[in-house]
C-alpha cells in the first residue's frame, strides 16, 4: 500500500523550493513589492516589445498574422503583472491574485525568455525555417481560425477515451477481483492474462478493424483492452496481498463471503486499483491516438494525420498542445478522485 501511494504521488509535487521560500516572506511583509514579479513583468514586456516592434523576416508568403496583436496583448499582460507586483499589497483582490501568482514566480520569468527565443528563432530571423517551425502567433492563428474543428476533435477523443477506459476499467477491476478471490477462476484466467496481457493493443489494430463492425467500436475495444490489463493485474495483486488477519477478524464476527469481498478485499485493494488505472490510462492514450490515426475518422489523432496531409505543421503543434493539456487534465482528474477515495491514507486528514 505504501509503495502504491508513493508511485502515484511522484508526479504530483510541482512546488519548487523557491516557491515556498517566496510565500514565506510574503507572510512576513504583506504590503511590500514583489521583486520576482517585477522581473517577470519586465521580461514579459521585453518579449511583447520585440514581438511587436522587431519586423518579421520576410518569408516567401504573406506576413505572419496576429504578430502585432500578440505583442500588444503580451505588453498589456506585462503591465498588469507589474501593477500586481508593485501595488499588490494595497488592495485585497490584487493581494489574492498575487498570492496565487507568487508560487509561479520563477516560471513567470522563465516562460517569456523561452517564448522570446522561440519568436526570434522563427518569425524574426527564420533560423528555424517554415513550414516545419512556426512562431507563437501562428498557433494563435490556428486556434482562432480552426477552433471548431479542434474542439470537435478534442471532444471526440475524450468521448472515445471515456468509453474505452470505462469499459476497460470495469472489466479489469472485475477480472482482478475474481482471480484474486477465486482460485478456480484464477486457474483459468491467469494464464490467459499472462500470455495476452503483455501484447500491445496496437498490434491487434489491423485484426480488430477487420472483425468489428466499425473502426470506432474497434478502437473502444482496443482502448478497453489496454486499460484492462494493468487494472486487472494490479487489482488482483491488491486483493491477493490483503492482510490475512483482516479476513480472520471479519470471519470471527460472522461476515459472509460477499462481505469479505465487498467490505474487506476491495477497500483494501483500492490503492493498488488506482495505480492500475494510472498505468492503464497511459497505455490507453497511446492506443487511442494510434487508432485515431489509423482508422477512426475523428479525434485529435485524426486531426494530426489530417494536418500532416496538408503539410500544415502549425496545426499539428496546436493539436499536440491541446492533446497534452487534455491528457494531463485526465490524469489530474484521476488523482483528484484518488485523493478523495483514499483520504484515509493521508496523515493530514482532520476529523
Amino acid at each position: 500500500m505504501a509503495t502504491s501511494h508513493q508511485t502515484l504521488d511522484a508526479p504530483l509535487p510541482l512546488a519548487g523550493s523557491a516557491g515556498s521560500a517566496g510565500s514565506a516572506d510574503a507572510a512576513r511583509t504583506p504590503s511590500s513589492v514583489w521583486p520576482v514579479g517585477i522581473v517577470a513583468a519586465l521580461t514579459w514586456g521585453g518579449f511583447g516589445a520585440l514581438t511587436w516592434r522587431w519586423p518579421n523576416k520576410v518569408a516567401g508568403f504573406s506576413d505572419w498574422a496576429y504578430t502585432e496583436e500578440l505583442g500588444i496583448a503580451v505588453l498589456v499582460a506585462a503591465a498588469a503583472l507589474l501593477v500586481v507586483a508593485l501595488a499588490g499589497g494595497y488592495a485585497a483582490p490584487l493581494r489574492r491574485v498575487r498570492q496565487t501568482l507568487r508560487h509561479a514566480g520563477p516560471w513567470l520569468v522563465a516562460l517569456p525568455l523561452v517564448f522570446a527565443a522561440w519568436e526570434i528563432l522563427t518569425a524574426k530571423t527564420a533560423l528555424l525555417p517554415t513550414p516545419f517551425f512556426a512562431p507563437p502567433q501562428a498557433l494563435i492563428e490556428v486556434y482562432i481560425d480552426d477552433w471548431r474543428r479542434l474542439g470537435d476533435s478534442a471532444l471526440n477523443t475524450l468521448k472515445l477515451l471515456g468509453f474505452g477506459v470505462a469499459y476497460g476499467g470495469v472489466a479489469g477491476f472485475l477480472i482482478g477481483v475474481s482471480i484474486g478471490w477465486s482460485r478456480r477462476i484464477g486457474y483459468w484466467v491467469h494464464p490467459v492474462l499472462r500470455v495476452l496481457g503483455p501484447l500491445p493493443s496496437t498490434a491487434l489494430l489491423p485484426l480488430t478493424f477487420y472483425f468489428f463492425p466499425s473502426s470506432y467500436s474497434a478502437a473502444v475495444f482496443l482502448i478497453a483492452l489496454a486499460t484492462a490489463f494493468p487494472v486487472a493485474v494490479l487489482t488482483w495483486s491488491g486483493v491477493a496481498s490483503v492482510n490475512k488477519s483482516y479476513y480472520d477478524v471479519a470471519r470471527t464476527m460472522g461476515a459472509s463471503e460477499a462481505f469479505l469481498v465487498l467490505r474487506v478485499a476491495i477497500p483494501a485493494a483500492l490503492p493498488q486499483v488506482f495505480v492500475g488505472l494510472f498505468m492503464g490510462l497511459g497505455a490507453s492514450f497511446s492506443v487511442l491516438v494510434t487508432a485515431e490515426m489509423m482508422g477512426v475518422k475523428s479525434g485529435l489523432g485524426w486531426y494530426l494525420t489530417w494536418a500532416q496531409g496538408w503539410a500544415s505543421y502549425v496545426n499539428m503543434y496546436a493539436a499536440l498542445i491541446v492533446m497534452a493539456l487534455l491528457f494531463s487534465g485526465v490524469i489530474t482528474l484521476l488523482f483528484a478522485v484518488r485523493d478523495r477515495a483514499l483520504s484515509w491514507q493521508k496523515g493530514t486528514v482532520k476529523w
Partner: protein, 260 residues
C-alpha cells in the same frame, strides 16, 4: 445449544478434548499441539502461558473456529465448534483495524457483517464509551497510538457481546505503562460483561495478574505441563507476595527459575 444464555451463564463453556494439531501434510508434518485437554467454565478467565512459538496461538485459532484440529474435538456448551461464530471473538496481537474505516465504523464491523447495524447502532457508541474512546469516533486508525488502537480493537470485540473472548497476546506490542493500564481495564471489562476469557501470553506476570487459572505449556509440540490456580480476589495488587510465589512456581514449570 443446550444451555440458555441467562445472566449467570453468559460466559461460554469450552471443552477442549484430546486436541492434536499439525501443519503441513505427508512427511513434512510439523506437530504443534499434542493431545491438549482443557476446560473453561462459564465466565472463567484462563491464561495460556508458554514459550513463544509453542503453539498457543494455534490453539486459539482452533477455539475460534478459524481452523479445524487434526485430531480431537472442541465444544462450546456441548456443541462442536466447526466455524467462526460471533459468540467467540478474537482480539489479535495487532489491532488489525481496517485503515480505510474510521474508528466508529471499525467498531461497527461485527454488527454490520451480521446486518444488525441499523437496529443496534447504539451498541457501537456504548462499546466506544466502555473503552473511553468516544471522542475519537471519527478518527482514522493511523491517527491513534498503539494503546488506543488496541482499545478500539477491544471495543470492536465487545460490541458483539461475545460469550467467549479469545485474546491472542493482545497487549504484547504495547509499551509497559500502557500495558499495565490495559491489564486493569481488561479485568474490569471481563468482570462487568461476564464473558469467558482465554488469554495467550508469554508474560508470566500478566497471566497471573489477569487469570483465575494459568495453564503452562511445553515447547512445541505444546503439551500442558502444569496448571496453576490463582486463588486471589480481584482487584489484585501487583506487589502481593502470593503473586510472587506463584510467579516463581510458573517460572519453574517453564524451566526459567534459575535466575531466581
Amino acid at each position: 445449544m443446550v444451555v440458555a444464555a441467562s445472566e449467570s451463564t453468559r460466559g461460554a463453556r469450552i471443552d477442549i478434548r484430546a486436541v492434536s494439531h499439525a501443519f503441513g501434510d505427508g512427511d513434512k508434518q510439523l506437530p504443534v499441539l499434542d493431545s491438549v485437554d482443557l476446560k473453561v467454565a462459564p465466565g472463567e478467565f484462563v491464561a495460556l502461558l508458554g514459550p513463544s512459538g509453542c503453539g498457543k496461538s494455534t490453539l486459539l485459532r482452533l477455539v475460534a473456529g478459524l481452523d479445524s484440529p487434526s485430531q480431537g474435538q472442541i465444544l462450546q456448551d456441548g456443541a462442536p465448534i466447526d466455524r467462526p461464530d460471533p459468540s467467540r471473538i478474537v482480539v489479535f496481537q495487532d489491532p488489525t483495524l481496517y485503515p480505510w474505516r474510521r474508528v466508529r465504523d471499525n467498531v461497527a464491523l461485527g454488527l454490520q457483517a451480521r446486518g444488525l447495524l441499523r437496529r443496534e447502532g447504539h451498541r457501537v457508541d456504548a462499546a466506544l464509551r466502555r473503552v473511553g474512546l468516544e471522542a475519537f469516533a471519527r478518527a482514522f486508525p493511523h491517527q491513534l497510538s498503539g494503546g488506543m488502537a488496541q482499545r478500539v480493537a477491544l471495543a470492536r470485540a465487545l460490541v458483539n457481546d461475545p460469550r467467549l473472548l479469545v485474546l491472542d497476546e493482545p497487549l504484547g506490542k504495547l509499551d509497559s505503562l500502557t500495558r499495565l493500564a490495559m491489564q486493569s481495564d481488561l479485568v474490569e471489562l471481563w468482570q462487568r460483561a461476564g464473558f469467558s476469557a482465554l488469554l495467550v501470553t508469554h508474560d508470566v506476570e500478566e497471566a497471573l495478574f489477569l487469570a483465575q487459572r494459568v495453564i503452562v505449556f511445553s515447547q512445541r509440540p505444546a503439551r500442558i505441563t502444569a496448571e496453576i490456580p490463582v486463588d486471589l480476589p480481584y482487584p489484585r495488587h501487583r506487589g502481593d507476595p502470593r503473586l510472587t510465589e506463584l510467579r516463581h512456581e510458573a517460572l519453574r514449570h517453564l524451566g526459567l527459575d534459575a535466575s531466581w
